[in-house]
Symmetry: C2
Subunit: 554 residues, 2 copies
């Protein structure tokens, strides 16, 4: 699918020559280079793999893959009567995909499976309410009739939290996709939960603003889902977490109560900040239907540099230098290991941005209000890391196309990982000093168990590490030829125990979902888990959505 | 108290000449100027008025000033037995100030009254636990024995939330004042709640970092109190709110449960983010005993400019220009009206930074990693606002002393306001376009009621407005010669109704405390208030701390 000759790019190359008196920046030669992102779908990244190179195949039902998960018998089975109610309530034909009273297997399928093709549910009913009031009426009815539901946004999640396991009703908010208001002076945006991130960001770009969150799945993911899962992504280093940027939330509680907290104010200290509870709750205590968020002004200048480095120690040095030298304009510091870049290279067949191979790669982005100043800062930083032999080789993008191309080597990783089959994905926070050790240790474990190799008999293709170095956030990914229980048994609880020992987090930015529901204890104390149960019970006393989240906290 | 000749400062002056072809920056003349902040206490600002110029006087008991507030009879009276328990538990003599079994009126007094001298309680017992475990045991005992308590940090609050009304036990955390750890790579700091903000910031300065919060009371306020009240302050424009920066919290619930959530990780999406509930809860659902917080690198360069402007419309234009031209280095945009600067001038007798008087003044601060770049950006901005006649006159500080001096004209306002007697303080968020209208309307109301004037018969001295323009956060202050119920009746609920009409917030950054407990309905819907009550009841079912906060939410 990737046409190699479609786009060719010019990259400004900051080459390093090793001379007796140290390294220096050579007069910048130019390099022709292929873009990954311009030849494959840009959605294929941290969350979406539409158009993935892996052959489509039937996804195993979650209920079969994990037979230990049992349907909660307190929940009612869907009947014709229920469907009739929803039909009448939502009115339009397109708002109800009904596999209860008729066969709608094909239509329902996309809502049953996650993009990783790891989880698959048995739902027969998808509801697409068009307003907060409709969500409220749907939830109240479900609550009163003990019907289990699962809220769904762009369905780009990585932990199986946005798809049903059994026959839960899918409540998909994609029809709620309007921008409600934007204030050009303050930068506060109010929008429906079902707005697609990229659509909102494009709208903001026209006003000179930017959404304070960016992630690979931006072409499909919903801003409501972003907030519900407290997505981190690529700009957190610069703009901070959603807990700081979200100004208000509109949500519907399990009993249908509408939480109307759509403040546009930057400061509002009147009572408890309840909206915070919904940020990162993964839809387990209510469905977010609208958000207000503070958007920063869009930077006039963006620079991207891409480096090769000899060791993880040097990566850490480069990070410290970047923080010091680039200061307020540093907007991303991304780490990619050799294996991850190998995979991207193998799948896309694009020419690598650097000559030769390196154990580690970093992508640094700056964004600021003055292009000249930013370039000068970046140059000073480059001089420094080269003179001190911190980086081995590097290139700097010269225009928007090159910037996209370099980002392709980072954002293209998740998609390329799926090339051979399934991927075991771990999204973790670890103190920065030990961040990469987890990848080495996991690879060694796979090796010892005889599970990793270049030929078909081995289930594991590669163990790779990449992620948001600036946030101490590693994505440990195990690319496999097929899902294999032996691999899973080697990985879990090993990975979680490894992280717990270092007081890390087993879920940095992806959430728990169904994938990690039994592992929360590795990152949270019994007291904290008990307090979370209290909150769950407070808002959802009849043990409401999605799946058996209640047991997730047991 | 202010010695006028003690310090003289040189200010680089960017003067504007009105010529037929528009305004231009004249060759910069230099000006000798007196610093307010160097001659008065630097604490006298947004929260502390130690050494205020107002004559000390006996503060009226809150219970007498507000007879409608009744002691909750469910709470027990303190006995000798209770005191004996606390003595044995806390061990050291200094941890218990006992006015129950003996006379300790003088020792207890400082803990009974707030710095505004507006609220005064009747406590006879002050406890100073030295560890989280001790806080836990104290709270458990109080909970079991129905003893009311009020948590207290630096006691710099402005809404009467940190002092008792009746005989509540004061739990003061000042003995818990240790920095627990600091990570130089990630910038995460872990410290006791009782650490003084300025002490922590000075410690961080040595490491090249900065606390992501700054406010006038920094010399006295505690970081635990800052988090408990979700303090906003001067750096919010740049570093965002505490909801984004606080990484973890250690707190003790009313029943003694220790919430151990002191994560040092920037990203941790494992379950509900419960720490958020304690940020801004004003100690009503637990006492914060420790925090971990993400500290940004300290900027190498800081610039401060001070302007005079003709109208509030021009202030808004200047703000937009500052956001555009200064972008990522803009760290403060503060507004001061003519009245506020008149008062500072009258009290300090310092020479004004600008020649002539102006209806409005702004203080702009930039901080960045490159002094040269920052100066260039600031110059461009100055050229622009002068050429376009947005500002009428302006100066730029040339060194650290001058920076402090200029800040003195902003930070000195609250202290100077107290010069004649009491101050009615309103800390509100209003959409920026209408921000200053509230001050004009309030002044007009005072005038119509015949309450404002230059002589002693009038209770009101001046109605002034100032605040954090960058956050749409206005401080409406009414300086009085004496607290007068007639003034209060004109102000309330007028101010709150005015704000509610504009969907503003009646408490932007100061919290509700006892001052606004009955007014929450102006900023929150019945549903939201009901949900807050639920949370209060969840954590404090026996209607525990401080005062009658339960009724505050009724």
């Amino acid at each position: 699918m990737a046409s190699r000759s479609r786009t060719s790019l010019l990259l400004l190359r900051a080459r390093i020559s090793s001379t007796p008196c140290g390294r220096s920046i050579r007069p910048l030669a130019q390099l022709r280079w292929q873009s990954a992102s311009s030849t494959t779908t840009t959605e294929g990244s941290e969350g979406v793999a539409k158009g993935t190179t892996a052959p489509p195949k039937l996804v195993k039902f979650t209920s079969e893959a994990y037979p230990e998960i049992q349907r909660d018998s307190r929940f009612a089975k869907l009947t014709e009567k229920h469907v009739k109610f929803f039909r009448e309530l939502l009115g339009t034909e397109s708002a109800v995909i009904d596999g209860v009273t008729k066969d709608a297997t094909d239509d329902v399928e996309a809502f049953n499976s996650d993009w990783m093709r790891k989880y698959r549910g048995h739902t027969k009913l998808v509801l697409k309410p068009g307003s907060t009031e409709e969500v409220s009426k749907v939830l109240k009815y479900c609550n009163d009739n003990m019907l289990a539901v699962v809220p769904q946004g762009g369905n780009t999640g990585l932990v199986g939290g946005s798809v049903p396991v059994f026959d839960e009703i899918v409540i998909n908010v994609s029809r709620m996709n309007q921008i409600r208001s934007f204030d050009e002076v303050s930068g506060s945006l109010v929008a429906d939960a079902g707005c697609i991130l990229e659509v909102v960001d494009n709208y903001l770009a026209e006003q000179g603003y930017i959404f304070p969150l960016d992630l690979g799945a931006k072409g499909s993911c919903h801003i409501g889902g972003n907030v519900a899962t407290n997505a981190g992504g690529l700009r957190l280093l610069r703009y901070g977490s959603l807990h700081g940027n979200v100004l208000g939330i509109e949500a519907v509680l399990p009993d249908g109560t509408i939480v109307d907290d759509l403040s546009k104010l930057r400061k509002n200290n009147t009572g408890y900040d309840l909206k915070q509870l919904f940020i990162g709750a993964e839809g387990t205590i209510g469905i977010i239907t609208g958000i207000s968020i503070l958007c920063p002004q869009r930077s006039k200048a963006t620079n991207v540099a891409f480096f090769g480095l000899e060791s993880y120690e040097k990566v850490q040095l480069a990070f410290r230098e970047a923080k010091g030298k680039l200061g307020e304009i540093l907007s991303a510091f991304e780490l990619m290991d050799a294996n991850s870049q190998d995979l991207v290279h193998k799948v896309t067949k694009n020419k690598r941005p650097l000559e030769g191979e390196h154990p580690f790669y970093c992508l640094i982005e700056t964004s600021g209000s003055n292009a000249e100043h930013d370039s000068e800062k970046l140059e000073k930083f480059l001089e420094d890391v080269m003179e001190n032999e911190i980086v081995s080789d590097g290139v700097v993008a010269q225009d928007q196309t090159q910037i996209k191309a370099l980002w392709g080597w980072r954002e293209g990783i998740p998609e390329c990982l799926g090339h051979w089959g399934g991927v075991y994905k771990y999204d973790v926070s670890i103190p920065i000093q030990e961040l990469y050790d987890l990848v080495d240790d996991t690879r060694e474990k796979m090796d010892k168990a005889g599970l990793i190799g270049d030929t078909d008999e081995y289930p594991v293709v590669k163990v790779v590490g990449y992620g948001h170095m600036g946030d101490s956030n590693l994505h440990l990914n195990v690319a496999t030829r097929r899902f294999d229980k032996k691999v899973e048994k080697e990985l879990e609880p090993f990975v979680y125990e490894w992280i717990a020992k270092r007081n890390g987090s087993i879920s940095a930015e992806h959430g728990l979902g169904i994938a990690k529901k039994n592992f929360i204890g590795y990152s949270r104390s019994d007291t904290m888990i008990a307090l979370m149960k209290q909150i769950k019970n407070l808002y959802d006393p009849v043990s409401f959505p999605p799946l058996d989240d209640q047991s997730a906290l047991d």
